[in-house]
Symmetry: C2
Subunit: 254 residues, 2 copies
C-alpha cells in the first residue's frame, strides 16, 4: 500500500500529457538538434540557444547516470550537478526541479522505445521479426544502458511515474504485437505459446545485459561487455528463443 511516509505518485498530467503529445513523433523535445532556430530571440548572451542546448545535453546525460544508479529518491540534485560539472543552481535553472528533470528523462527513454518494431504485420516472416525484435532491443539496451537502468529502477519502485504509460500506450503496443504472434501460431508458423509471455521473455532477457551488467561482469570476470559479446548474445538468444517457439530460423526463405 504505497510507501510508508514517503509518497510519490505525482501529477500524471505532466508526463502523460507530454507522452501523448509526443506520441508518434518518436522524438522527445530534448533530442531535436535545434528546435526552431530559437525564434523570438531579440538579444541575450548566446541568443541562438547553443549554450542552453549544450548544457541541457550535459545535464540530461549526467542525470541519467545518477538516477539510474540511485533511483529517483536516492539521486540528489547536488550529485547530478557535480556529475555535469555545474553548480546546483545552474541545473535547477535549466530543469526547473528534480521531478521535471526525471520526467524528461523518462520521456526520452519512452520515445526511444516507441520507435522499436513499429510496423510489423502478419505477413512478415516470424523469424525475421523476432530476430529484429531481439536485435534492436539488445541494441537499445546497449546504446543507452543508463536509460535502460533508469527505466528498470522506475519499474522496480512500482512505476510511480509510469503507471499511466504502462496501462496505456505500452499495453497497446504489447497487445498489438501479441495478436500478430497469435495469428502466426494459428497459421502454424510457430508454436501456440502465450504471446505476451513471449514478449516478456524477450524483454527480460535483453534487458538483463544492461540492468544487471554488474552481475554479468562479476560472474564472467570481464571488465566490460564488448560489441562481439553483444553479437554473440544476440545470436544465442535468437537461436534459443526461435527454436523454443518452434520458429524456423531466418534465411530459410519462409
Amino acid at each position: 500500500m504505497s510507501g510508508p511516509h514517503l509518497q510519490e505518485t505525482p501529477g500524471w498530467g505532466t508526463l502523460f500529457a507530454l507522452l501523448k503529445h509526443n506520441k508518434g513523433r518518436g522524438l522527445s523535445m530534448s533530442e531535436l538538434p535545434a528546435i526552431e532556430k530559437r525564434n523570438r530571440s531579440r538579444g541575450g548572451a548566446d541568443a541562438n540557444g547553443a549554450t542552453r542546448e549544450r548544457n541541457e545535453r550535459e545535464i540530461l546525460a549526467a542525470a541519467e547516470r545518477v538516477f539510474a544508479q540511485y533511483g529517483y529518491r536516492g539521486a540528489s540534485v547536488q550529485a547530478i550537478a557535480e556529475a555535469a560539472g555545474l553548480p546546483k543552481s545552474n541545473v535547477l535553472y535549466y530543469m526547473g526541479n528534480k521531478r521535471g528533470l526525471y520526467v524528461r528523462l523518462l520521456e526520452r527513454m519512452m520515445a526511444r522505445w516507441n520507435a522499436l518494431l513499429d510496423d510489423i504485420s502478419v505477413e512478415d516472416a516470424p523469424a525475421e521479426v523476432l530476430e529484429a525484435f531481439i536485435r534492436s532491443k539488445m541494441q537499445l539496451s546497449r546504446r543507452h544502458p543508463e536509460g535502460s537502468r533508469l527505466f528498470a529502477a522506475e519499474i522496480l519502485g512500482g512505476a510511480p511515474f509510469l503507471q499511466g504509460y504502462l496501462r496505456g500506450e505500452l499495453r497497446e503496443w504489447v497487445h498489438a504485437r501479441a495478436k500478430i504472434f497469435e495469428q502466426w501460431a494459428e497459421r502454424g508458423l510457430m508454436d501456440p505459446v502465450d504471446p505476451v509471455w513471449l514478449i516478456f521473455l524477450i524483454w527480460s532477457a535483453t534487458q538483463h545485459y544492461a540492468d544487471f551488467e554488474a552481475q554479468v561482469l562479476g560472474i564472467t570476470g570481464k571488465a566490460e561487455i564488448s560489441d562481439a559479446d553483444v553479437e554473440r548474445i544476440t545470436r544465442f538468444l535468437t537461436q534459443v528463443i526461435l527454436k523454443g517457439c518452434g520458429v524456423r530460423p531466418p534465411g530459410g526463405g519462409g
Copy 2:
C-alpha cells in the same frame, strides 16, 4: 568513475566476512528461530529474547519492502520505522545503523539463493534439472518478491555492496553449473549453447516477474499475479527454454 559526490563501497569486510561465515549453512542468523535460548540472561524485560525476535522480524520485513522500493540511498530509516510501526530510535536500537540493516537483508537473500539447486551432477537428467531450476527460481521470486527486488536494486546500482559476492561465491556457483551443462552438450543431451548465457537467460526470465511486477500487471491489466499464473509461466518458460536448447522435456524417462 563512481558516483559523483555520493559514494558507497563500504567495508567489504562486513558483508563478505559474514557471507563466508554463513557459507554452507544455508541460513543467515536472522532466520534461526531461537538461536540458543538466549544464554547469559540474568534479567531484563523479556529476558528470553522473544521481544527482540518479534521486533527484528518486523523491522526486517518492513525494511525489505522499503529498500526494495526506493533503493539503499532512497530509503530512509524513518520510512522503515513507520512501515514497521515503531519509532525510528527503536529501529536503530535493534539494527545499529542503516547500513547494517541493509547488509543483513542482503545476507538473508543470498542465503535463500544459495540453497537453490545445490546438488546436481552430470548424471542427472538435463530436463529435470533445468525444470527444477526454473521452477525453484520462480518460487523464490514469488515467495520473496521484496527480497528479489532488493537484490535487483543493488545490482542495478552497480552492486556496491555485493561486488565481492558476485566475483566470488556466485561466480563459483554459476561456473560449476555451467560445466555440467557443457558436459551434457558433449554427451549430446542438449545443444551446445553457451551455458553461462543460458543461466542468465533463466535468471532474467524468472526474475522479471518479481522485479518488473508493476510492468507485468500494467500490461496484462491484472491486479495481481496468481498462483495459477505462476504455474503457467513456469510451464511456458520450461517448455520454450528446454526446446530452445534441444533438451527433451521431462517425463520421457531419458
